[in-house]
Amino acid sequence: MTIKSLTLPQLFPRPKSSTGIWSWIGTVDHKRIGTLYGITAFIWFIVGGIEALLIRAQLASAENDLIDPETYNQLFTMHGTTMVFLVIMPLSAAFFNWLIPLQIGSRDVAFPRLNAVSFWIFLFGSLIINASWITGNAPNGGWFGYAPNSSTTFNPGMGMTYWVVGLNILGVASIAAGLNFIVTILNMRAPGMSMFKIPIFTWMTLITSILIVLAMPVLAVAGIQLQTDRVYGTLFFDSLGGGDPVMWQHIFWLFGHPEVYILILPAMGIVSEVLPTFARKPLFGYPFVVFAGAVIGFMGWFVWSHHMFTVGLGPAANTAFSISTMLIAVPTGVKIFNWLGTLWGGNIRLNTPMLFSISFIAMFTIGGLSGVMHASPPTDAQQQDTYFVVAHFHYVLVGGALLGIFSGIYFWWPKFTGWFLNEKLGIVNWALMLIGFNFTFAPMHWLGMDGMPRRIYTYAENMGWEGSNLAASIGGMILGLGILVFIINVFYSKMNKQIAGSDPWDGRTLEWSTTSPPPPHDFDVIPQVRYRDDFWFTKYPETISEYFHDDHDQAVPSGAQFDDHDHDPLVVSGGADDHDDDHGHGGIHLPDMSYYPFILAFGIAIFGIGFLTNTYIIGIGAPFFLWGLIGWSMEPVNDPE
């Protein structure tokens, strides 16, 4: 089939080399993009961590004057924004990129160039937000950016403009990535892999992606409204023009609460992969975990006003949101029992990823329970804006999401690189993080109960808060030390490489069936899938009868037949059958590299700079944007050979 296509004259040749900086800028390989996400997010993680440590240093003693109030506001705003948008979301995206095609037996994501553009837009957006430090006007209105507090009347500096422009750019990147993973998971699965045979991490990615695709546009609306208010003088949040001060809160939290699940569901997915592997049992109640995730993803849309119990929405609204908030704890609790059920009676190996995952369950449960406490409006009225809330969401985000992500890092590191992270240093890393984390955030419960408000840069001496605050600050340093041990571990392990085979943990899912690190095309032969945890049952066919009890499945003891009758077993030995291009050309075809995603993202970055400085600069970005867009749409995925 020859397709006559239109092409744009190329200014420079398409990248071909697989090494060097241009190969990274032009890459469309999901594994390389995952690595880029991971490294970038980790750098921002260190930046956000330093911001947190500065906050803790300021609060270590009463009436401390290490940091002035304005800088303090900037620090907590940027700490929150960085950790949510530039660390946990992209770290999850790194895992999505690396693992989804490997877990579903595909050779890349559905739209490889869109994947590249997501990363570059994310990179430029994150640089724009953090450029505010260099210009001396870091955002200072909190990560939630409440308007009208964040509009020019009350916040005349440039800081919140950086914040809102940066977030709008990041939103584009997230939506593009979310769309990509939805389509990938629905359309690119290996033959025989029905939806209820995909690994649980893939399920959680799917639900997270749907949430991202639906929630980020809502943030974009809030962002555009605030941006036009700040840049062009519209009246969305101007109370003098009749604007409603509660408007921003509703729109922001309608995004903000699904966002919470965007942050935690990937970590839940990671833990749901780690536990079965090291307990050597299938995940207990797989369909329950899937449905619990889906219910969380659905109900997450009906709880946003629990962030606003003290606004005064009235008893009817407060009651409704209180009930829905309490109900959403049910599917979360279901998952916790599924994890415990997975561990129960398992042949447990306690190594670093497993320790991180088990502490995830414990810490996340604590954070979840204090969350249920705020679900009651009268209780919440006492806790609103105190350190109790800070303790709650750090238990969920650090004790939950971050521990889950570290578990994933230790678990999949051998697959990503081909060598192990050092186990002894890993356990030191885990112990320091867990101890430091609890020393930091457990005392905040007490402080909050005692009435210490959030977002104050200092406190009086006679409040009785010194001891707990000092403990929290010391804990913060220990936590930071734990992260330092992780960085040391990476370099130490790189210098003393302990080579990992393709399946170092006796894994269950498809990513362990290919080499470590995987070849650019992921799989030499696209696998044929028969069972959930197919790779495990390929390795141990004798255990099939243990887990598949119905008559149909018992008739297929050793892979002689397939429960998906559409596929001829012979095809398995013959090669991939689901990829048309393999047939025509007799080889594996990967999309060629492309510079256009980078050019397109660069144009968007200049748009952002234009909003911040001078509208005419937007005109400079337009040619790059159009060049990227048109060049991209006319560039064939593969050059003719």
Partner: protein
């Protein structure tokens, strides 16, 4: 594309919700009842809806392999979309002339941003369709890759449907909106 449209629904949904919340809360004029010109906008709405018909016919002929008819109908989508944009441009200029800008009052803010965002969607669609018309003319868009046109068509119809909602909400429902009740006594009493 369906996933993207779902995302866009949330996007427009939040803007329309903002409009509805702020409806009738403008503290000063011009109010909707003083400025909206429903007959003219009805004409432009009709133009936009006809472009959807042209879209359906264009896709039909491209699928049938009738290159010239296909190109012609896609071109009709481009022209009708551009005419709609022309109407919007004239309307915006007229409003600005009569003293309604995004900075005047809440109606101006919500009206211009909502219809402006919709207009941006139409503009993107027009450019997209123009490329497809060129592609069809050059023979790069044929019955075997008509999916490209079908996806663009989904987007186009979606933008149309959003306009029906916007037309209803802004032009039909708010047509008689004047100053909020009691505003005179608040401002002057």
């Amino acid at each position: 594309m369906w996933a993207f449209l779902g995302s866009d629904v949330m996007f427009f949904g939040a803007f329309i919700a903002t409009y509805l919340v702020y409806r009738g809360k403008s503290l000063n004029g011009p109010y909707p009842s003083e400025i909206l010109n429903i007959p003219i906008t009805s004409v432009s709405t009709f133009v936009l809806l006809m472009s959807s018909l042209a879209m359906v016919l264009g896709l039909h002929y491209v699928k049938e392999g009738q290159k010239n008819k296909g190109t012609l109908w896609i071109l009709a989508v481009v022209v009708l979309g551009a005419v709609f944009m022309g109407f919007q441009f004239v309307e915006f200029r007229e409003f600005a002339h009569e003293g309604l800008t995004p900075r005047t009052n809440l109606f101006g803010t919500t009206f211009f941003i909502l219809t402006g965002i919709h207009g941006a969607h139409v503009t993107i669609g027009v450019i997209w369709m123009a490329f497809l018309a060129y592609g069809s003319h050059k023979g790069a868009l044929r019955s075997d890759n008509a999916l490209d046109l079908e996806i663009a068509g989904l987007y186009w119809h979606f933008v149309d449907i959003v306009w029906i909602v916007i037309f209803t909400v802004i032009y039909l429902i708010s047509a008689n909106d004047g100053p909020p009740a009691g505003i005179e006594s608040i401002l002057h009493g």
